[in-house]
Symmetry: D2
Subunit: 334 residues, 4 copies
């Protein structure tokens, strides 16, 4: 059994805690949260111990891996600490909102032989993955264009907005990663448009609630992303890939497979899943399996540190494009 510590036991942390505790190959031994009550709640349902300090965790030699689900600004430092302690690292996205901190982190862990996986869970969604696999394996010929639709059900509260780093770094970052995953060739150019169309809270704090983006690779492949902070019909998550031999798309999923026909509408489908925990349930499980496999086989993680870094650089390029009203070339460095 691989021994895990969980750092950060808020909503997402608790979910990861229960996945670790329930997995046949892992054991949750430590839980830490700056709010001890959070840690206690999670420890009680998972038979883990509450760590009084981070030291207690990093000094435990029997520990194999650390799952970081604490607040964003702590990620970079915790990755460095865990990696230096020789623990495998699974870190929720994003690495940091500031590319300088990300680059500092990258420098610190360079050469350390531990896997660092970033939580871009959508790559593990069976349907989106099928799209990416089919595109990669030539199932639709040579890939030409990708269209990503990603629309949240409801805008977040003000505090969330203020801490988020802005829509491109918080929400679109998932789509930048999806674009890189499906395109399977590095993005070279970014063009972005945005607007605040409906959310008074966003308007108040001068944040966008809607956006459209174009990406292009060196060989000319193109990708479009459309985002909105609301969608009355539920969490809208679709990916469409066009190639020389055909098209494959992952459609939204419904809560059950019923259709109702009546005088008002001739056919209406069951509601969509409400938000990411329900919609990407299987993806969270599969992502964790992949991480275990990475540790067991000493492989490179499917979603590594560099993927986290590059998604952030695309978000930054999108902001630049907005500001200048022009296409921005991205330089990922060596």
């Amino acid at each position: 059994m691989l021994k895990f510590a969980l750092i950060g036991a808020g909503r997402i942390g608790r979910m990861h805690g229960s996945i670790i505790a329930g997995h046949t190959k892992t054991e949750l031994v430590w839980v830490y949260d700056i709010l001890e009550d959070n840690a206690i709640t999670t420890a009680n349902t998972t038979l883990a111990r509450v760590a009084k300090s981070l030291d207690e965790i990093f000094e435990d030699d029997s520990l194999d891996a650390v799952l970081i689900a604490s607040s964003t600004e702590t990620h970079a430092e915790l990755i460095v600490r865990a990696a230096k302690a020789g623990k495998a690292v699974f870190c929720e996205k994003p690495i940091d909102l500031d590319i300088k901190r990300v680059d500092w982190c990258r420098e610190q862990i360079q050469g350390l032989q531990v896997p660092v996986q970033i939580g871009f869970n959508r790559r593990f969604d069976p349907s989106h993955r099928k799209v990416a696999d089919t595109a990669r394996d030539g199932g639709i010929g040579n890939l030409e264009q990708v269209i990503i639709t990603s629309r949240d059900p409801n805008p977040p509260p003000k505090e969330y907005y203020l801490a988020s780093g802005g829509m491109f770094r918080d929400m679109t970052i998932h789509d930048f990663d999806m674009a890189r995953y499906v395109l399977n060739e590095e993005v070279e150019t970014v063009m972005a448009m945005s607007a605040t169309l409906f959310d008074p809270v966003a308007k108040e704090i001068d944040e966008m609630d809607s956006a459209m983006i174009l990406l292009q690779t060196a060989s000319g492949k193109m990708c479009h992303i459309n985002n909105s902070r609301h969608a009355t019909y539920g969490y809208d998550q679709r990916v469409e890939a066009h190639g020389s031999l055909g098209m494959i798309r992952s459609e939204n999923q419904h809560q059950h497979s019923t259709e109702t026909f009546g005088a008002e509408s001739s056919s209406s489908r069951a509601p969509l899943h409400f938000f990411f925990i329900e919609r990407y349930r299987q993806a969270y499980l599969d992502q964790f399996d992949a991480f275990i496999e990475t540790i067991e086989n000493q492989q490179q993680p499917l979603v590594g540190f560099e993927d986290g870094r590059r998604a952030l650089m695309l978000a930054n390029a999108a902001y630049q494009s907005l500001e200048k009203g022009q296409a921005v070339k991205v330089d990922f460095g060596e």
Copy 2:
């Protein structure tokens, strides 16, 4: 924690064992199988003990419930024994293939204050359940007609056929139960047609592989069932209910939500789930939850002994209709 014993640790038994072991409110303490190796395998992955005999189980006063997943001919006697020992009973379908044995069992357990739930798991499928609930709650007005499509992916091997009691008692029995569930009014008349159209094994042993059935209630509501022992495109499980104000249907479910468009076909959906364990995964879990609730709240089970009995009587009536070439009235007794 409710303490459970599992009797029968074949394929379905093992699945039940892992559900019991994984449920937050239950604990698997005993496993019994006439083949001790089966019991050991299940015990090893669930931390349960292997019972050397059934006595060991029924004499354990701390035990709350027994899950019977042994071979069909043992069900009736085990139900009686468990009920008399004061254990709550969950028994896989069918109760027995012989209505006389069922009636004997019924007599034996009459008046005993233990819940007995029969494993008609499809009632718990979220989609079929939505159809039944909508029909019951007037969501499509007064129910008028029901159409049940139930087609297995592949014919079973010869031994299975020979032990099955015939298609109506083995396979259609699920659909008879679904018909009773959705119609929500007792069936009065049965008409059946059958044929052996494709399976050489079925032909050899003079068994049907295809059937169509009509059912009607006292107030005139009608139900059609169509069955086949094969379906190249996967496990086909649909229920359609027509009422005075509209129609609701549960459609098949796909393994993922992708669609592929190419020169050959303009859109093709991901494959269906292959067979019942995958398709009805959630139903197995929900059925077990319902059983726990039944025990906790001392309610009547949603699928009781009498439901098991009546589904068998409909199967018998269908055989009679086949034989006589006429509509058969069913008398369920008092």
Copy 3:
């Protein structure tokens, strides 16, 4: 140009009149209706002449074909008269409601070398036709089962009911013909159930408004038909064929190809076509094309007199099955 006379200029007659007038290979020269005003209306928009009597039509030697769309009880005699006058005959369904009259008509036209086509237009619907063609050409392997769903939007008025000859002879007769078309092997056995579930007018005159039927061929192939005189969601017309290698179904068609997603429902389709003129528009055109081809090439019509006769015999058998509560064997004679 083939010269046509139209006999009967009611709703369906007018539609046929405009098809004949608009077709590049045909010309409408005569219109007759016992209500002269009907004839005048149609003549005015088609540049045809109003016939004062049927004699005027049958004595016109230049006439090639007669399209009979008058009231049902006149069909048999008009077919005989037209066939004896050497005119090709297209007759709306049914030939007659009385099998004796049909047999008399059959005898009268025996040996005459004119094509007689019956208006079972659904055979020409591109979608249902694709199902039948695929079943026939082995596209789903050996055909095993067929499921026909045929539900009208609204019950007819009392006068229509009284003149209709009963649901099996008026409405189901289309489905009996579809069953024969898709099964592509003669039906041998019929079982029927019916009820009056919702329509007070039907109840008052002791007529059914709902039915379910089973058909079986000599080799064991089965077909189910379900009928209702109402469907709030629109005209429900589906055919599903199961074979040894797969299944093909023709689904309902929507007025346009839009889907709407909102807070109430996560996806709702555009309304279905309301009734047969809209739904089977292309079928009416294609059926007429087939008739022209039949005349030009002196072929047998795709839907001949005998098809009209046999559909009626299946309707009669269904009534017998209802009455006796048993399976009825059908003998079509030599």
Copy 4:
């Protein structure tokens, strides 16, 4: 009956000719084509006369309207000539490939009281129109984003490319018009990306075969267009509109409403319509009806001269954006 002349009797011209000849309110009296054989062919099937010269047409005082379907470079001059002769004008898109010629034409016809309708037929497609109407009428709340997918089945031959004026002016121009129609607010900013990804002919002549575009209005509404010169699965034409209360999309249409299920794929839809004549058949008819109504009621056409002009200006802006790699503001003038 409104009397029409047809100028240009190539493929599209012939289609328009037969629509005019078949319409109950119009009569085709003249056909002109610089290749007289073309004119003769069309005249023969429509009972029209062949005009020896354009003068013959414009001097015919009894003529009500002119339908211009000749080659693009003749459009502007013919519009002017027809309008000055007092004839209603229906002109195929585009007005011209050169905005200077369009502006000259605009000046010439200023103040003349004749309707000039441009052939953006997609506005009349019942499904796309439903999307636009729903967006306009508040059926999805306030409109926020529009996504237009428009992909041809096959790249055109070299000569077509060379005469086309480039993809934005030839193909995307339909989508620019659709964007303006659905957005219902003028576009202010254009961003474009393009590539030559698959077509060797396009590569040879240095023309794009793939493109992605973003548009934005003054109030912030956004629109994405994706284009490709090929789509193996058929002509892909979809419009999706997102608003504050929901989303509506027009999906592709299939040749028939069948679905096939087999071992290879669990469900495959009938093929899409192949290209624009089949797909937009109804739109061509409805667009002509609208033109007739415009003449009869002396209304402004739904798609006027200015719509033709502005779509071209958006195409020009898209080329500018490509060249400069930046967002381009469009100034439509007064």
